[in-house]
Amino acid sequence: MKFGTRLKIEEDVSSSSTADIAFLLIIFFMVTTAFGTTRGLEMTLPKKQKVTQEVSTTEAVLVEIDDYGNIFIDGGGVLLEHIEPYIRPKLARNPNKYVLIKSSLAAKYEYAVSVVDELRLSGVKNISIPTQKEIASWGQY
């Protein structure tokens, strides 16, 4: 008696389309990915109180920015990189030193961000960015 020979079909899961599916997914994620655009400078605004915390302008350091991005600390013109050497000794004496940033309304927004960044790097904890309305209410600028 002669048995029929078995068919030699190899069983295998087809994986040829795996790479295609994977590449489709890659394209999807590449298109939807937004790299690192959700990072920035954190700020905490003071709580609104009936009795506002008075920051004496004589005790605080005043950083002013003019229309063209020129910086003046306590009245004297400086470069951005000179802020740190000016601030450090003051912080050594008083680590909670307040720094007020007053930018010209016509100045570019990036100038103010550069100054905030530089002050943060210098180790200033109390940075205050008063709005024009607040400055007007002080009545001394």
Binding site: F29, T32, T33, A34, L45, Y109, Y111, V113
Partner: protein
């Protein structure tokens, strides 16, 4: 004359590892992907110090010309007037007092727009604010303040 038989070895580029590489790339993109509701293109300022913002924060987009877009965090930003921020922020703060606001302002926009937005956020009693920025590279001063 007798020619030599051609070799039967077939030339081919092995593609067995392609799937593995592709899946590695998928994992990478899956991990780094953040589905941002805000797709507005804004030329952000640069800063060395950058902290991750809280997902789901309200977004205030200030374009170069002072145009404003507002998003509650889960919807596409909608165009708004410069004085609409107060009502927008008041509603959000009433629902969630610790609401995070992300300001995405163009580096070339005038400071007056930022000032106006900050004033209204302060009036609305907003506490946590984040100023979006790009990473500043050392030695490259960019076009920042001089």
């Amino acid at each position: 004359m007798r020619f030599r038989r051609k070799s039967n070895v077939q030339a081919g580029i092995p593609s067995a590892s392609m799937g593995d590489i592709a899946f590695l790339l998928i994992v990478f993109f899956m991990v780094t992907t953040t589905f941002s509701v805000d797709k507005s293109k804004v030329n952000l300022p640069e800063s060395f110090e950058r902290e991750a913002t809280v997902p789901g924060a309200a977004i205030i987009v200030i374009k170069e010309n002072g145009e404003l877009l507002l998003s509650e965090g889960d919807k596409n930003p909608q165009p708004a007037g410069l004085n609409d921020v107060l009502v927008f922020a008041l509603n959000l703060v009433a629902m969630q007092p610790q609401m995070q606001f992300t300001i995405k302002a163009s580096r070339d926009s005038e400071y007056r727009y930022f000032d106006r937005v900050m004033e209204q956020l302060r009036d609305a009693n907003a506490k946590n604010i984040s100023l979006l920025s790009m990473q500043k590279v050392a030695g490259h001063s960019g076009r920042g303040a001089r």
